[in-house]
């Protein structure tokens, strides 16, 4: 195991290390199977974000947060997505700072979680974004089980000023993440 191993006291103190530098923690007591909680490296966070298509997007205006589920595709430091008009778009236009939470559950009680902090950038339907738009649309259209049916479809929306979709990307400035490994589920 990596350095920084510690044995957590019963009651969940294994997560007390949030924000600290320890890289690995055990949680083991008679009522709970052995779990290992680890910080993810930057590259592990990016790999998770790159692999997934569903995230929870947090934005805020005047200190009031707003959280929605979105579909996205990651490429080269950015998460690309489309949205229809609505409150989240209004908020991100007013305050471009956002957070993106990406999660994955594994075998047993294992999970991974990464949160990206970054900034919203609108990509208008104008010359210069066509390649990006098509690339993002291609990536996104591979995900067929849309959680928000109708929000995104595998047809490239018309590149005209009349398109109801707004294409945007999130420039990822910072990522943090952690994983829990269910030791009993390991081979």
């Amino acid at each position: 195991m990596a350095a920084g191993v510690s044995t957590a006291a019963p009651g969940g103190e294994s997560l007390a290390a949030r924000g600290e530098n320890s890289s690995c923690h055990y949680s083991d007591n008679e009522e709970e199977a052995m779990m290992i909680i680890r910080e993810l490296t930057h590259n592990q966070c990016i790999s998770l974000i790159e692999a997934k298509r569903v995230a929870r997007l947090g934005c805020s205006l005047d200190g009031q947060p707003y959280v929605v589920t979105i579909f996205y595709a990651y490429a080269e430091g950015h998460a690309y997505a489309f949205t229809l008009p609505g409150r989240k778009l209004d908020i991100m236009r007013a305050n471009p700072k956002v957070a993106l939470l990406v999660e994955e559950t594994g075998s047993g009680r294992s999970w991974k979680s990464a949160m990206a902090e970054g900034s919203f950038e609108e990509l208008p339907d104008r010359i210069g974004h066509k390649t990006l738009r098509e690339r993002a649309w291609t990536l996104l259209s591979k995900y067929s089980d849309w959680w928000e049916p109708g929000a995104l479809k595998p047809e490239l929306p018309p590149v005209t000023d009349q398109s109801p979709h707004t294409f945007f990307r999130i420039h990822i400035d910072r990522v943090t993440g952690r994983e829990a490994i269910d030791v009993e589920e390991q081979p």
Copy 2:
């Protein structure tokens, strides 16, 4: 169906009604099964929040949002939860405005989603909160498949100033929600 039915154009415009008052929208075209998108009433939102135990909590500081998964239990206008020290607690202490996103997937591609906006209130380990704390702990401890293993356990944490857990509640000021009904999955 309720009043306010409209037929969405292909391409996802069924969700263009976000934030509007229409109560029901269809999405139907040859590439996508018929879906009905509806706003949830206040009571439907509360029922969903009451039924679930996992939410995505959004908080923000200086305009920078932060999103994490939490476990909670709802009772009488409040979502109760415990947390260990860390960034989300620091943020909520500095800015108590939060958002709570609760989701449920149904049969087929059906889903429900409710977002509560409200305010964080810390409930210190002092006389006056013991009943609330025990009640919340009882509710929370019924949920045995903790996504964050170790973060919460079915043992009442010691009611002393040394407890690493911070008990808090979110006073829910406003709820909004919607649901998508997969018509093909209906009996």
